[in-house]
């Protein structure tokens, strides 16, 4: 860095002796050291090409420290979002002022005072314009928002001067990326390529502001289908995994697939990437390949035979895992599944009592027939049954201060969780979970909740995110940072509606997650419908093609009409990026993700039909022991009920034993073969008379 924090010699101090009467007599001394900065013979390439325009200001349309105007030739390569550099003509404090700006508005007009004059000129016939010998004088006038002024003090209105198209170095300086792209302390994460005129400049976000601790979180907004929200997140994850500095620790991602097959094929290569996409990957230094480490999790379908996901093709089974929780797993999050009407003070007290004294503990009470060790919903149901029976027999209205009506209500609410979340929550207590404590660096964990009921989705969000947070706080997750990607954020953290457990949890992550390394990547169609505390805490905001109605909401009032128009017409693969270092939004292009899209994946790996129970078990066990055959499974399971077979399969998958066959077989209760039982002669019952029977 040179003077005043300026990296480029061009921007450094200029002797006032180079000028006579305030008029420039040539280029600055500072330009003579330009080779290191892409300059040639003391001049920048863009300057060699000549100015693009000139700054103008009038009393009615003056320049300010934050905005200026300039005109260009009619064919100048300038548009909304173009970054330009203004070189002032007069030194300030011995330094030529340089101002960087981004075009936010454009005007075009002629010397016509009234449209009627043009009508008169054409005799009212539009077609005659084709034969006109002279076109009217026309202007292209642009308004640019200031990105940066050098020197930054004194902050003055933008001076008159020549306007140049920004080159790579200009873009880095204008967006203040030079602060975090220095060798040795580089924390830049490529987000895309800025393209204007002949400039293709990589745009970097600062990892400290993307994943914390300075700021964190990303939101992506745009209309469905055209805004490429999911693609943007997939690209950003790939970029983070490639460029996140090793000194900052490890990072993993947990993605919730909430609709269709969007995220179901992140480990499969894209069908074909265009040359343009490959060039973008090359420029941004990210390998054009699918994620090498991806693990999928999905609950079972309601009958527990197959996983409830579109990723059921046998070729993809190796890294697709079941997600099954037992009573202890979900008890802490019972509130998620209870409605506001359910949770009064009395119900809350009873739930706390069960959570702290019953589930997972040895529980005994003099009035109950036995001691309990409740581990599963079945056992909890049995405990409730005994409690209620005891109360009925003793004609008690309350037990341990809990009213019988409250106990009945909570029994009903808790024990039907397994039914409401069938496939996810199991009655028998055998759970299959994410690898808590063993999360791996640069690994994506996808949880497919697309086909689940809302209750089950909420339960998964709540438990996974809460556990991530808890494990990160305890430094016991396996990685230092976790990115949680939630699509349809306006559904899970809406700006209005009831204050749900999931919303509270997301707000907590948005406001405090960055301190523990928990980062929220959210996508939504309507940013205005997402809770403002979630949006406000997102350090980086990405915008794809936007809906006009959405752009009309107050949250976009800071954008000029032209920028809004550009947002409403963005092509696929283009984003507008807001980042803490950028004083104005910048438009970038990013490559198509190098992974198989959901639609293409669904075609290439069609969903398997739900197999018979024995086939499903065979497939699962074969992943542990390829020698397992369907015939053997049929032989072993032939005498048992489906829930017993599924339980044995789950136990085997969980234990991953050395001898799979023996372990699986051992999970079944012994069944004695049917035998002929000899009839036993039972003597007639003789009631013995009581000793004090007066009639005996």
């Amino acid at each position: 860095m040179g003077h005043d924090g300026v990296r480029y010699s061009r921007l450094r101090g200029v002797s006032t002796s180079d000028h006579i009467d305030g008029k420039p007599t040539g280029q600055t001394n500072g330009q003579t050291n330009g080779h290191a900065n892409g300059q040639t013979n003391g001049r920048r390439d863009s300057e060699t090409a000549g100015p693009l325009g000139r700054v103008v200001a009038t009393e009615r349309r003056p320049n300010t420290p934050h905005e200026f105007h300039f005109w260009t030739a009619l064919d100048a390569s300038v548009g909304i979002g173009t970054i330009v550099r203004v070189v002032g003509a007069h030194p300030v404090g011995g330094q030529l002022p340089v101002v960087y700006g981004v075009v936010v508005e454009g005007f075009s007009y002629t010397d016509l005072q009234s449209p009627l004059h043009d009508v008169l000129g054409h005799d009212g016939s539009p077609a005659r314009g084709a034969f006109v010998g002279t076109d009217r004088t026309e202007i292209r006038l642009y308004t640019a928002a200031v990105l940066r002024q050098v020197p930054e003090e004194p902050l003055q209105p933008v001076p008159m001067g020549e306007v140049f198209l920004a080159d790579d170095a200009d873009v880095a300086c204008a967006l203040r990326m030079d602060a975090y792209l220095q060798s040795g302390t580089n924390t830049g994460i490529p987000v895309g390529v800025y393209h204007a005129g002949g400039t293709d400049a990589a745009i970097y976000a600062d990892a400290d502001f993307l994943l914390g601790p300075e700021a964190a979180h990303v939101t992506v907004t745009g209309v469905s289908g055209l805004a490429t929200k999911t693609s943007a997140v997939e690209w950003l994850l790939a970029s983070i995994f490639t460029h996140f500095p090793a000194s900052k620790g490890s990072v993993a991602a947990v993605c919730f697939n909430v609709k269709g097959p969007d995220l179901c094929f992140l480990d499969q290569p894209a069908v074909e990437l265009s040359d343009g996409d490959l060039a973008l990957y090359d420029k941004l230094g990210v390998p054009a390949r699918p994620f090498p480490q991806v693990h999928y999790y999905a609950p079972y379908t309601a009958n527990g035979v197959a996983l409830n996901t579109l990723r059921t093709h046998e070729a993809l089974a190796h890294n697709t895992h079941p997600l099954v929780w037992g009573l202890q797993d979900v008890m802490e999050f019972a509130d998620v599944l209870l409605t506001r009407e359910d949770i009064d003070a009395k119900a809350d007290a009873l739930i706390d009592f069960i959570r702290e004294s019953v589930v997972g503990h040895r529980f005994a009470d003099d009035r109950l027939p036995r001691a309990y060790e409740v581990q599963s919903f079945s056992e909890l149901n049995a405990w409730f049954a005994d409690v209620l029976r005891m109360m009925e027999q003793t004609n008690s209205e309350s037990w341990r201060t809990h009213h019988i009506a409250t106990i009945r209500k909570i029994r009903n609410r808790l024990t039907n969780i397994a039914q409401r979340c069938a496939g996810l929550v199991t009655n028998d207590g055998v759970s299959r979970d994410l690898p808590w404590g063993d999360f791996a660096d640069r690994t994506v964990y996808v949880i497919d909740v697309a086909n689940l009921e809302e209750d089950a989705q909420d339960l998964i969000f709540a438990r996974v995110v809460s556990t991530l947070r808890k494990k990160l706080e305890q430094r016991d997750l396996g990685v230092d940072h976790v990115i949680v990607f939630v699509d349809e954020l306006n559904k899970y953290a809406p700006s209005d509606g009831p204050d749900t457990y999931v919303r509270k949890m997301l707000l907590d992550v948005a406001e405090r997650g960055r301190y523990v390394g928990l980062v929220l990547f959210g996508a939504q169609q309507f940013r205005s419908q997402v809770h403002r505390r979630v949006i406000g805490n997102a350090g980086t905001q990405l915008f794809g093609r936007m809906d006009g109605d959405e752009l009309a909401t107050p949250g976009y009032a800071v954008l000029s009409p032209a920028v809004k128009t550009k947002l409403a017409t963005l092509e696929k693969g283009q984003l507008m990026v807001r980042h803490p270092h950028f004083t104005q939004p910048v438009f970038v292009r990013f490559p198509r993700p190098a992974v198989l899209s959901g639609r293409e994946g669904a075609e290439r790996f069609p969903r398997s039909a739900e197999p018979p129970l024995e086939v499903a078990v065979t497939r699962s066990l074969r992943l542990l022991d390829p020698s397992v055959t369907l015939e053997w499974v049929k032989h072993v399971t032939g005498l048992y009920e489906p829930h017993e077979i599924l339980r044995a399969k789950a136990q085997t998958e969980l234990a991953r034993p050395g001898d799979v066959r023996a372990f699986f077989k051992a999970q079944f209760r012994a069944v004695a073969p049917a035998r002929t039982v000899a009839r036993v002669t039972v003597p007639p019952a003789v009631h013995s008379a009581p000793e004090d029977d007066p009639y005996g």
């Binding site: 016509l112 005799d123 016939s125 002279t134 076109d135």
Partner: protein, 330 residues
Amino acid sequence: MDASLRGAQRLLGEWIPRIRAADGPGPTLETLPAAAESPRLEPAQTVEGALRTRAVPGEPRTVFGGFLDGTQASRIVTYVDAVPIVFATVAAVIRVRRDRRLVTYGQRPEVERGFYIPRLLVPAELWNAAVAGGYPVTDTSDDGRPISDDDPSSGRHPAALIERALQRVRDRRQALEHILAERWSAAEDSPLYIDGGLTGNRRVATATGNVGVVKRHRTLYVSAELMPVLAGLRPGERTTAFRIAPVSRTAVTSWYLRLRDSRGRDPTWGLVRIEVSETRADDITARADEVSRWVMAEAAPPAPLALPDPRWDTMAYGIRDCEEFLRAIT
């Protein structure tokens, strides 16, 4: 305030410290009321038969390669013993068509700023300082009519001195226009549309590619009997040609052309007089028709109108562009 005017005032203050500069830039002398030229009829020698109406045959054709016009802006810097010291900017430009858009011909326009001072009436120290000061200085008393011999009583009237200075400024502006016209004639083949007459310069008036278009008609080159012919011209019609040969100027061939329908308006509305180099009698009709088609192409739809200029009925858009350009740079 005009930066160059302010510079002139500052210089003047340095030359003669006791002089107080005029307040503010004020309007230019050209915009102040001036003695109007007397309107007159001056029948000219016809060269295409008797003066009559002729419809221009054929369609208008866009042929002009450039448009030439000049501007002037004069202001009084101060008075020295009731003698006005005038500072003027004169400029001329040719604007040429490139891809249907008008751009400046050559490297730059001709622009000249200078003082106009009656040397005999100001202190010698002022004159000497002005000459040494860097700006061109024109002696407005040195025009062949020494003030002292002309009319000592009225010649010293400040208004008379201003008129004299204005005439010198006008001469200088025409000189710049002629320089550009000659430069064009020497280098270009396509015709040049010149705002105003050609007679003031022999080389300009004799170049076959130069077409002068006169918009003001204080002098009408018809007799009183033939005024109905002029007034009856319809759009696309011209008069037959006549010869104009002012004293001490170069003779040219000229005719009137009606560009727009003047019914219900002043008879000179939409009327221009065209000047070209003197043409052989047997070529005059074809030549006048051809040049008329060229001029009509710059005025008739779909050519852009020169609005909002009040002279839009006779002004070509190219000439308005010249004026707007010069206004922007001077």
